[in-house]
Amino acid sequence: MLDNFESILDMCIDRINRGDSIEDCLVDYPEYEDELEPLLKSMFSIKGSYSFVPQASAKQAAWQRFSASLRESERAQERSVLPLPWILGKARTWAIAATIVIIALAGYFGITQLLPPGVIPPDETGNFAFYISDEQNAIGDFQSLDLSISKVRLYKEDGGWVEFVPETKEVDLTKLQGDLALQVWRGDIPQGKYTGIFLYVTRASGILGNNNGKVDIVITGNKLHLDMPFEISDAPLTEFVYDMTVIAASGSGYNLQPVKDESGTGNGIKIQKVNGQGQGPGSGQARGSELGQDQGQYQEQQQGQVEVKDQGQYQEQQQGQVEVKDQGQYQEQQQGQVEVKDQGQYQEQQQGQVEVKDQGQYQEQQQEQSIGKHQGKYQEQEQEQGIGEDEGQYQEQVQVSGSGSEQAQGPG
């Protein structure tokens, strides 16, 4: 018989964990009842306060993922099995052959890109292209918001999944707002119906505008789950946009979540393809008329005279005269005369005369004359004459010629 109180208490804790009542334990150890009872009651109460039964659907979904991984692991083991006696008899031959294969693989994939079994390699001519995009919410709070994506899993309707490692693993969401989307991978995915996508993120952090410091972005379980059925048919190419958004949470935190309405493969999903943000094959489709000398992708609908010397990607709908010498990306809808010499990325909707010499990124909606020389990132909404006076929220140091200078940070 145990005479150590701690051992008796330990046994009673085990019994309560197994479903016994406090009374069941006290009956067996009546000489310790006065000491045991209050402690066991405390234990009962503590356990009860955190009583938690996982949802059956969550447990089942986790089991499906686990069992799919288990099947893949079993297949990988089967592929790696070789006839042992023959190996032993041909050791030198196999050593030479294995060396040649490893060198060939390293050369084909790159020594740092040897992929684990079950991971689909990239292919520039593949039937599936995967894009990342960002839906604007709190993204304007950030100068940059970097994601490191380690892998992507597509879940099949039959319960299995396929996996690939993005060729472009690092993306800055601030550069992928709205319809802008960056292709991070292309390859061959088995045809069939799929039910959703997990995006595995190893790092998500941003630098707030106005030098307000670095923040980490909360992603539950380090992965983003997009629950969305889609199909890969026998079409030459299926393009999938995975749209996400960062939202301000309570306090000073931020969450990152997938956006179902803006994701998928449907015709309603708009893509403005972004080049040059990382490695990987660039694919582009030029739609619309081409005038001038440009490199990249654009959509241009214009009436009037235009001289375009640009590199990059833009959407331009204009009426009137325009001389554009810019590098970067922009969306421009304007009526009137515009002379733009800018580098960077902007969205400009204006009516009236504008002379903009800026570097950086901005969103500008103006209805009056605006003469500004801006450096930095800002959002400008103005309805008065915009010379160093603007309303809205921005983080910048603006120097406006001829009207004094303006330096402002934070909400205006």
Binding site: F5, E6, S7, L9, D10, I13, D14, N17, P38, L39, K41, S42, M43, S45, I46, K47, G48, S49, Y50, S51, F52, V53, P54, Q55, A58, K59, A61, A62, W63, R65, F66, S67, S69, L70, S73, E74, Q77, A204, V215, D216, V218, I219, T220, G221, N222, A249, S250, G251, S252, G253, N255, Q257
Partner: protein, 173 residues
């Protein structure tokens, strides 16, 4: 133990230990959705690292809780101090008693504050024994302590908790 046997053992533990691991994560992070998510992640991580598992070291269920402990730490590193709960993950069943939920929440807050006053080691023992429902031997394997040390810590922790909760409520639990 070869790979296939390890996989079979791991799969056999799923049904019983998923709930316990989720309960353990829940008491540490306080979020049901995250607890369910990380519980699933524990088994995936275990499968990925199965080749490194040595059965002569610790029981597999203890190893799973080590993985869970590491995932909780990783999660906390990336999280802000304030817990963020996406609004669409909060689900209230139609037949839920709201008052009961509120009372439970108040009690949980009380217990949470009491747990915060334990030493880190005492707290780990309570979390693994009460919520992970591991034995003191299994708990010792997770924490690299002998089972006798575990029993001693759980006894002193439970006595401390009772004193704290009594003082807080003004009556015994």
């Amino acid at each position: 133990m070869d790979r296939k046997r390890k996989e079979a053992t791991l799969a056999s533990l799923y049904d019983k230990y998923f709930d316990k691991i989720a309960g353990y994560v829940f008491v540490r992070l306080g979020n049901r959705a995250i607890a369910e998510d990380l519980a699933g992640e524990v088994f995936l991580k275990a499968l990925e690292s199965l080749d490194s598992y040595n059965e002569r070291g610790i029981p597999m269920q203890s190893w799973l809780f080590k993985i869970a402990h590491n995932l909780v730490i990783d999660y906390r590193r990336k999280e802000f101090r304030r817990e963020v709960v996406p609004i669409d993950s909060v689900q209230i069943a139609d037949d839920t008693d709201i008052q009961e939920m509120a009372e439970t929440s108040v009690e949980r807050e009380r217990v949470s504050k009491a747990l915060d006053q334990l030493t880190p080691e005492q707290r780990q023992v309570i979390e693994l024994r009460f919520f992970g429902e591991l034995t003191s031997d299994e708990t010792g394997k997770v924490l690299n302590k002998k089972s006798g040390a575990v029993r001693q810590m759980q006894s002193s922790a439970l006595k401390s908790l009772r004193r704290i909760l009594d003082a807080d409520s003004g009556s015994g639990l």
